[in-house]
């Protein structure tokens, strides 16, 4: 940023900066349908393109393209295959024995690919030709695969390029690591594996020592250190471990060899066994090698090689599961994985009609296990990898076996994220606990300091090298941020903040120091000088170690900004409350709660001695309150001229809180009674907002608006647009966009004057949130909605309002903030989601920033990231704290760049994708239509899965196949389709729908995910097993259940956590013990109707469940209300609507949805 940039950053500058804003606004904020929704129309995520590649495939693919493409060819031939083509279980049955035996063999092909890097294998077993054939088959299939709706759209990018690209990729990956000192390129498993194949071939010829491999691994992991020459050595080492597995599946063209192969491997003395196998026949050894690889990677704990591999890329290994038994995913996978292998053969025929896997997931496992007892024992921990292996035996006849074996071998070593899952057969995918964010495949030292995924997350943890590769993957690329999350951060005070001179990036852990005095920016690659001051490290009090400074040790850090970062003195904390006091408002009784809350928390408002507060109430007129020091009581000033609003007195409407606290408290005590008898029903919200804006514009600050009805007087008056009879219609939902631009314009004015508007909507009727919400959306405020709020009839809402208001009043706040997100040259950010105003291309204006706000951005790849191993993203948030300090909070995220499609898939972060898609769908439904948005969501799932099937899977198999990392994708998409925001056919109030959309855009991912996919727990049998212990409280951790009625039982009690609401469902035959111990009622029939509080009983059961619920609530900034429901309860319907895996009148069940996807994919 140039100095000019600074100015704009400061944000206070009203004049120019502001001017820019509004004008840009239309462009930046209202995204045209095409633009905003990258998925369908845009080049960035071009479904089209992806399809395009396929067609050429059949013809082109045959030899050249594929061979060149390292990922595919290399894999098949070498052990690498196993790693990449993850699908352990899938391939087996389906394929006729195309070229299975050959596929393994082609060492030649593998070696060429790696050629540059690797020394040629001494003995190259040459069964090459065959292998290639197997590949071809795939391509052919690809063309066949039907293109989805996306196809229709024009494909900007050329798909073919993607094919060509891959070849380069592998080389680059491998070479880079060694060459580049800074970034050990992410030895993800995949990367890792790919090299292996080459080794494997070598190994076959030479009996390698077990130890050797370890060194080789190191070489890989630490790019800088490992010289290329070492590779040959490495290859040897690898062999021993891997071989074991390989043979059984693929190697032994006939079954003979395989059994032997596996068993040795299992024994855990790979080296000894390996040599003999190798001798037998060239092909088999390779297979063995592959297998062993797989084994090693999984079994690693016992073997040295593996351990080292751990060091290299901890993240990936952990993902695999073997290493970390604790890991939920891995365990889960086991569960899921096992059934697959056994069943496939039998079910192939039926499965379209029946969900075979669904009922008996566990069963299949047993039958297979007997076959290889040793295997199982060894593999169990690593179930995923081993399974494929087992399958062959249990499965179909020999003819089928051979192909399937080949597939297996390939997949056996694949990283966990790429393990193929047949969604139609695996039902129990959900892990028992929360799903952790995937770990980018970065070297450990980088990963250790990388940004916390709760703060900064990318939908693809491995960034594709080119836009065409991204288009081919058909997954959305974007970032999700929670920049102002409550954290305790290292704070740096220094007179100069070290930044890149050309791109203004803040110095961060991912820059490289060329020497003591120079550093290279990781975003634009400019070399900068290290200022003298930076040489001194205040933490260690040492000199000359710039890389030990806190800025270079922490990916998230906060700076105290020098005066260059402010255009005006830091503003004081200013809070203005705008209260609706019409008859309707008084009826709801919210005023009492508000005043009491504010009285209770008045000393906890963030701020210093300059803090100012003010109050305005309004019905058909505007009432100001003069709170000037010295008055004996507050003075009300009424302005009835709402057409041309003015301030009755220039000062003393906003007063210093410390000096006038008495008066403010007086006012709060008298306010509720002041309007008790009002009969005024009209509401002049627009004028009140204008008045409030005038009051706040000199300083900026926060305006909190409490509104209970549709504004119907003066400027900004609205009319009811909702037809209650249409709520349930399956046709398109109208009126999702604002009815007037008054609120948006006013919000932009506010934004220019550093005023944010927070809206509290407490209403039982339609309030046109779609229009009113604009006031908060563009001024970076937040929206709270309490449907059917009433102080007597709806105590649950009252409690929620109280709790949330308390949090709202006391939470941290940043004023006059701006946020800029930078990314490495070649990437560009094009669409933002959240509440803010885009002031210039990448600068978000945030008059207020609060710790509960989340943001999302979409990205595209503008230039190829050819020579980069990693890319970085940096979000810098400049704000004024409530204490008048100007601070900069900087988050930096570093991600690896990959060049093969399978690596891209392996790095997919399905939760982040769901979150980003939800944001994109909101834009789409506003700019186009809801049905468009729904289609786009479905297409997103279809596209990515079909792309996966066409481009990554080497062996086709019936079923709906997904890599393990995407196994929740269809579920989340279905959940989104059934979410309040997007559902059709179910009665949904327009305001609630719009509110849900606001929430999806505004909530940080962790909370949004619960809104999308609620969590269901069985709570009548809570135990302390596996419980957390926090602050001496024991918090049980029940297993997360699938959202299906079949999981409910009449004998139990279930808790559903939807983020904003908790439902406690009591089964009809629930154990009386639970009823008495927890609910304090003698029988089911006596469970009260509107129970929203659990009685505080002194029983273990009660304590457990209350601890659990309390823990759930503590984790989020809003307050989920609890509803205890029985079968007869009114709320049962909304509880059941969250059972997203079940069928409803208007929506598909999960299984039907999967079938639909499958149909579209194979069309």
């Amino acid at each position: 940023m140039s100095t000019a940039g600074f100015n704009s950053q400061n944000g206070t500058g009203t004049g120019q900066a502001y001017a820019n804003g509004p004008s840009q606004n239309p462009v930046g904020l209202q995204q045209l349908p095409g633009v905003s929704y990258g998925m369908t129309h845009q080049p960035t995520y071009n479904p089209m393109q992806a399809k395009a590649p396929a067609p050429p495939g059949p013809g082109l693919y045959p030899t050249a393209a594929y061979q060149s493409g390292p990922p595919v060819s290399s894999y098949q031939s070498g052990p690498a295959h196993t790693s990449y083509p993850p699908p352990p279980g899938q391939p087996l049955l389906t394929r006729p024995a195309m070229g299975t035996p050959p596929s393994h063999t082609p060492p030649q092909s593998a070696s060429p690919n790696h050629g540059p890097r690797m020394p040629l294998p001494r003995a190259t077993p040459p069964p090459p030709a065959v292998s290639s054939s197997s590949y071809y088959s795939n391509p052919q299939q690809q063309p066949i695969a039907p293109s989805w709706q996306y196809n229709t759209a024009p494909a900007p990018m050329g798909p073919p390029p993607s094919l060509s690209a891959p070849p380069c990729g592998p080389l680059a990956n491998h070479t880079n690591p060694s060459s580049s000192s800074t970034v050990p390129p992410p030895p993800t498993l995949t990367a890792y594996s790919s090299p292996q194949p080459a080794y494997g071939s070598h190994s076959a010829t030479q009996p390698p020592g077990p130890r050797m491999p370890s060194t080789s691994h190191l070489g890989y992991t630490q790019p800088g250190a490992a010289p290329p020459p070492l590779n040959p050595m490495l290859s040897h080492t690898y062999q021993p471990s891997r071989p074991a597995y390989g043979p059984p599946p693929t190697g032994p063209p006939p079954l003979g060899p395989p059994p032997a192969g596996p068993s040795p491997a299992m024994t855990s003395t790979p080296p000894s066994t390996a040599p003999p196998l190798a001798n037998v026949t060239p092909p088999p050894p390779k297979a063995d090698a592959q297998c062993r690889e797989a084994v090693n990677s999984t079994l690693s704990p016992t073997e040295p090689d593996c351990q080292e591999s751990d060091i290299e890329c901890p993240g990936t290994l952990a993902g695999n599961g073997p290493q970390s038994p604790n890991n939920f995913n891995s365990i889960d996978n086991k569960m899921a994985g096992l059934p697959q292998p056994g069943l496939p053969g039998r079910h192939l025929g039926h499965y379209p009609s029946l969900p075979p896997g669904y009922q008996n997931a566990a069963a299949p496992h047993k039958p297979t296990s007997p076959m290889h007892p040793t295997m199982q024992a060894a593999t169990q921990p690593y179930s995923q990898t081993t399974q494929p292996y087992q399958q062959p035996h249990g499965g179909p006849g020999p003819a089928q076996l051979s192909p399937s074996l080949a597939a297996l071998s390939l997949q056996s070593s694949s990283p966990e994220a790429l393990r193929v899952v047949n969604l139609l057969q695996e039902r129990n995918l959900l892990p028992p606990g929360p799903i952790p964010a995937p770990t980018p495949c970065l070297p450990q030292d980088l990963q250790k300091i990388n940004c916390n995924p709760e703060v900064f997350r990318c939908t693809l943890t491995s960034i594709p090298q080119t836009q065409s590769l991204l288009n081919k993957a058909k997954m959305p690329l974007g970032l999700l941020l929670h920049p102002f999350k409550d954290l305790s951060l290292p704070v740096v005070t220094s007179s100069t903040i070290v930044r890149c001179r050309s791109c203004r990036t803040y110095i961060n852990p991912f820059v490289s120091f060329l020497d003591q005095r120079r550093w290279k920016c990781n975003l634009c690659y400019r070399v900068n000088d290290v200022p003298e001051e930076f040489m001194y490290n205040p933490v260690s009090r040492s000199y000359g170690e710039p890389h030990k400074r806190p800025e270079v040790q922490n990916a998230t850090i906060e700076f105290i900004a020098p005066s260059e970062y402010m255009l005006r003195p830091p503003q004081p904390a200013v809070y203005l409350f705008l209260l609706d006091v019409s008859h309707n408002a008084v009826e709801t009784g919210y005023l009492t709660v508000f005043c009491q809350s504010l009285l209770d928390n008045i000393n906890a408002l963030p701020g210093d001695s300059r803090t100012k507060v003010g109050f305005i109430t309004f019905d058909s007129t505007i009432h100001f309150y003069n709170l000037q020091e010295g008055l004996s009581q507050p003075q009300m000033l009424i302005v009835s001229d709402i057409e041309d609003i003015f301030l009755p007195t220039p000062d003393s409407l906003l007063v210093n809180l410390n000096e006038c606290k008495e008066l403010v408290q007086d006012l709060l005590r008298s306010l509720p009674s002041l309007f008790e008898k009002t009969m005024e029903t009209q509401s002049a919200l627009g004028s009140a907002l204008q008045a409030a804006f005038k009051l706040l514009s000199p300083t900026g600050g926060r305006m909190s608006v409490f509104q209970t009805q549709l504004p119907n007087l003066g400027v900004g008056a609205l009319q009811s647009r909702e037809d209650p009879n249409q709520r349930a219609s399956a046709k398109d939902i109208q009126h999702l966009s604002p009815a007037t631009d008054f609120y948006k314009k006013l919000a932009l004015d506010c934004s220019g004057q550093q005023v944010a508007v927070d809206l509290f909507l407490l209403s039982s009727q339609y309030c046109d949130l779609a229009s009113l919400g604009c006031i908060s959306r563009y001024s970076a405020g937040s929206v709270y909605y309490y449907p059917s709020y009433h102080h007597q009839h709806n105590p649950a809402q009252v409690e929620r309002f109280q709790k949330e208001l308390k949090r709202y009043l006391t939470r941290k706040i940043g004023f006059e903030a701006v946020m800029r997100i930078r990314c490495t040259k070649g990437l560009s950010i094009h669409t933002f989601h959240g509440n803010f105003f885009v002031r210039s291309t990448d600068l978000l204006s945030l008059p207020n920033v609060n710790p509960d706000a989340g943001f999302a951005v979409q990205m595209s790849i503008e230039e190829n990231l050819d020579d980069m191993q990693v890319v970085s993203f940096q979000a810098a948030l400049l704000y004024t704290s409530s204490k008048g300090e100007r601070r900069i909070r900087v988050h930096t995220l570093c991600l690896p760049v990959v060049n093969s499609l399978s690596d891209v898939f392996a790095g997919a972060d399905v939760q982040a994708m769901a979150g980003l898609l939800a944001c994109m769908a909101v834009d789409r439904s506003v700019t186009a239509s809801l049905s468009d948005a729904r289609d786009a969501l479905t297409n997103a799932a279809i596209d990515s899965l079909s792309s996966y099937r066409q481009s990554v899977l080497t062996i086709q198999q019936p079923g709906l196949l997904a890599p393990a990392c995407l196994r929740f994708f269809p579920l989340y998409v279905l959940a989104l389709l059934k979410q309040k925001a997007y559902r059709t056919g179910t009665s949904t109030r327009l305001d609630e729908r719009v509110f849900a959309m606001c929430q999806l855009k505004y909530q940080p991912l962790a909370y949004a995910m619960l809104m999308i996919h609620p969590a269901l727990y069985r709570v009548d049998d809570l135990t302390d097993e596996g419980a957390l212990n926090i602050n001496e409280r024991t918090i049980p951790q029940p297993r997360v259940l699938q959202l299906s009625v079949e999981k409910l039982s009449r004998e139990g009690a279930f808790l559903m956590d939807t983020g904003m609401v908790l439902y406690l469902w009591i089964g009809r035959n629930c154990h009386p013990n639970f009823l008495t111990q927890v609910l304090g009622v003698p029988s089911y029939a006596t469970v009260p109707e509107n129970l929203y509080l659990l009685p505080e009983l002194d029983t273990a059961e009660s304590q457990r469940i209350r601890a659990f619920i309390g823990w759930l609530r503590d984790q989020r900034p809003f307050f989920p209300t609890l509803h205890v429901i029985r079968d007869e309860s009114q709320l049962k319907a909304s509880f059941m609507q969250n059972m997203i895996e079940d069928r409803t009148e208007s929506a598909l069940s999960y299984y039907e949805f999967l079938l639909h996807l499958q149909q579209q994919i194979s069309k």
């Binding site: 500058g13 009203t14 004049g15 005070t493 105290i560 900004a561 020098p562 005066s563 402010m566 255009l567 005006r568 003195p569 830091p570 004081p572 210093d608 001695s609 300059r610 220039p650 210093n656 000096e659 005038k694 514009s697 000199p698 300083t699 008048g884 300090e885 100007r886």
Partner: protein
């Protein structure tokens, strides 16, 4: 009217506290004056006159330096100078009382921004014409105000700039001359080579000529 008040540390120009009159009322854009005020604070040093009035268009800056702290305010030109300086004196007394000892240890800008509350209150009493009458006693003490130096803000701000321009020009000149020197050297060597080459060519042709045609 006092539009802007700023308190800064003289040594490094670090702003310590400030107050801005709402520009909504006066309708004036203070942005430019603010940056001038900031620059001014950076220019001032311990050698600067203690009290000075700087004219900037239809506004005047008045500043007062005491105990290493600079108090600066921006008023309309018509605003009585006496009162402006009385106001600054007042600020100094209070500020030095409250924060005097902490001034030298302040690290971040606007460390004492909370003093703003006092500034605003004081400002009101000085700006309010009714209250002004009560300040008569103070005014008389400041009779020497007439002797306060008056200068133009532009001159003050540009004084340093002229020097820096000179400096850059000089350095440009020296780099240019260096470049000229190296260029000249290069040209010299080149012409020398050319001469040698010409002579060599001549002799070679001569030899060849002698060898093939002469004999």
């Amino acid at each position: 009217m006092i539009a802007l008040t700023m308190i800064a540390r003289v040594v490094d120009g670090l702003p310590l506290a400030a107050s801005i009159e709402e520009d909504e009322q006066s309708g004036r854009d203070l942005q430019q004056y603010q940056s001038q005020a900031k620059q001014l604070c950076r220019k001032l040093n311990t050698q600067s006159p203690d009290r000075c009035t700087l004219e900037a268009g239809d506004m005047d800056f008045h500043y007062l330096i005491a105990q290493g702290i600079c108090y600066l305010c921006l008023c309309e030109a018509s605003f009585p100078k006496k009162i402006a300086f009385a106001y600054l004196e007042d600020l100094h007394n209070e500020f030095y009382d409250q924060y005097g000892k902490k001034v030298n240890t302040a690290m971040r800008p606007y460390s004492f921004i909370e003093f703003d509350t006092y500034i605003q209150k004081t400002k009101k009493t000085y700006v309010d014409s009714r209250a002004r009458r009560n300040l008569g006693s103070i005014n008389t003490e400041l009779h020497d105000v007439q002797r306060i130096m008056v200068a133009n803000i532009e001159e003050v701000l540009q004084r340093g700039e002229a020097l820096s321009v000179l400096d850059t020009k000089a350095s440009n000149l020296s780099t240019l001359s260096k470049k000229y020197r190296s260029d000249a050297k290069y040209l010299n060597t080149r012409s020398a080579y050319a001469k040698v080459a010409a002579v060599a060519v001549f002799f070679i042709t001569l030899i060849i000529y002698l060898r093939f045609w002469w004999l």
